[in-house]
């Protein structure tokens, strides 16, 4: 009985031993089996492909990093925006946009006598009358002014050549219509204290009307600065 017990154990171990050994041998054999050899090509393909894909992934990471630089704040794109915003406002203030609002419309015309008089000078509207009325309109806080639809800006000059009045070097013909946007009451009040009243007094056909909505076209001329430059740094 006793002998049989250890016999049994040994038998069991031998059995296990045998099974494991065969299994192990089988595994070892698989390495050298012809099927595995054929797979070699496939494995090479896979390894090469993996290498290539890795390179591409590295390339993608590189490009993405560069793209990041172009789109991050602090790029030129970000610098552009505030300037564009400034310009939008500046264009309005510089008279480069059409504007509308309340204001006054003043009309000035030559006197009938100008046609027949021996000395028509005294019956014609002169450039200076327009110039002084514009000055008065500016004093009344006019924000946009036109003469016969020619926008008056800071650098606008008004002069005459013979009997022709030029505004922004454009020839104008009577009647002269001056439009101004601003506080209508104030505009009329100030205008009536100056040149306009002198013309009225001299019997020129003039009129001033307050309007709720006047449309003023943009300045079509140029702003050219060849001599006026921003002061250099460190100078006062």
């Amino acid at each position: 009985m006793k002998l049989e017990k250890w016999h049994l154990s040994l038998t069991l171990i031998c059995l296990l031993f045998g099974v494991l050994f065969t299994s192990n041998l089988k595994t070892q054999l698989q390495v050298f089996n012809p099927m595995a050899a054929r797979n070699k090509t496939l494995v090479t393909v896979i390894k090469t492909q993996e290498e290539k894909n890795k390179e591409l992934e590295a390339e993608i990471a590189r490009i993405r990093e560069t793209i990041e630089k172009y789109t991050s704040p602090g790029s030129i794109q970000a610098e552009l925006e505030p300037i564009q915003k400034d310009l939008e406002k500046l264009k309005i203030l510089a008279g480069l946009t059409e504007v509308h609002g309340p204001g006054v419309v003043i009309t000035l015309d030559d006197q009938e006598k100008a046609r027949t008089a021996r000395d028509p000078e005294y019956y014609l509207i002169h450039y200076s009358s327009i110039l002084y009325i514009i000055n008065d309109l500016r004093a009344a806080g006019a924000e946009a002014i036109t003469v016969n639809n020619d926008r008056v800006v800071s650098t606008t000059d008004i002069r005459c050549a013979g009997n022709i009045i030029l505004v922004n070097t454009h020839r104008l013909a009577p009647p002269y219509e001056i439009k101004a946007i601003g506080n209508p009451d104030l505009l009329e009040e100030i205008v009536r204290t100056g040149e306009y009243t002198s013309l009225e007094f001299s019997k020129f056909p003039v009129s001033i009307v307050k309007r709720d909505n006047i449309v003023i076209p943009p300045y079509k001329g140029s702003y050219t600065f060849n001599y006026a430059a921003p002061p250099k740094e460190g100078e006062k």
């Binding site: 040994l10 494991l20 552009l80 609002g101 702003y223």
Partner: protein, 234 residues
Amino acid sequence: MFRKKWQLTLSIAFACLGLLLSLQFRTHKAMIDDLNYQSNETLATIARNLQTQYYQLIQEVWDLRTQLKLLEQNADQNKTALEALTRERQKLNTAIGATPVEGPGLVITVPENEESYFGYQDVVDIVNELWNAGAEAVSVNGFRVTNNTSLLPNEDYSAMVLNGIQLSAPYVIKAIGEPAALEKGISIPSGIIDKLISLFKVPLEIQQVDKINLPAANVLDFNYAQTVTAPATK
């Protein structure tokens, strides 16, 4: 003794078993990791997937390169745009008088004098004449002339008032521009300067200078005038 013998045999047998077990385990582990031990189908699937991924990656690289190229072109354009817009901003700020400027030009001085009248309209006329002569920026007694600048007489017409500030002699009008052209432009016969000097005997002094500094004016925003697209500027 006998009992010892089978014990020895059993021990050897167990040792061998352990060795075999560990060997088997190691081989098995290596097999899982190594492609060489995969089946043909598995390998084919892996290869196919890698191939698909490869083409997708190439597509992505292509897309990104295109995007980058556009961004680079854009950056060049933006740089050009930035320069152009900065210049335009400077120009418009100069135009409306919102920025100080310097340059060569002309200084017209009207000293205090008792004999001849020199009024606010004369200043308006001189400034107008200067614009006509090609002035780029003008100031009157240190105040930059803008589209809001006006001159009015004071109550008893003894002095002139520029935008609410009373001025007093000497009146100094400065203009930036080509000095000779400015002087020639304002000195035309029967022009305002000619009239003031020869007709009204105003002791005017005109001086060409190499450098004039003009301050910025306080430019007011519009309250009444509105654009079609945007409301009045704030």
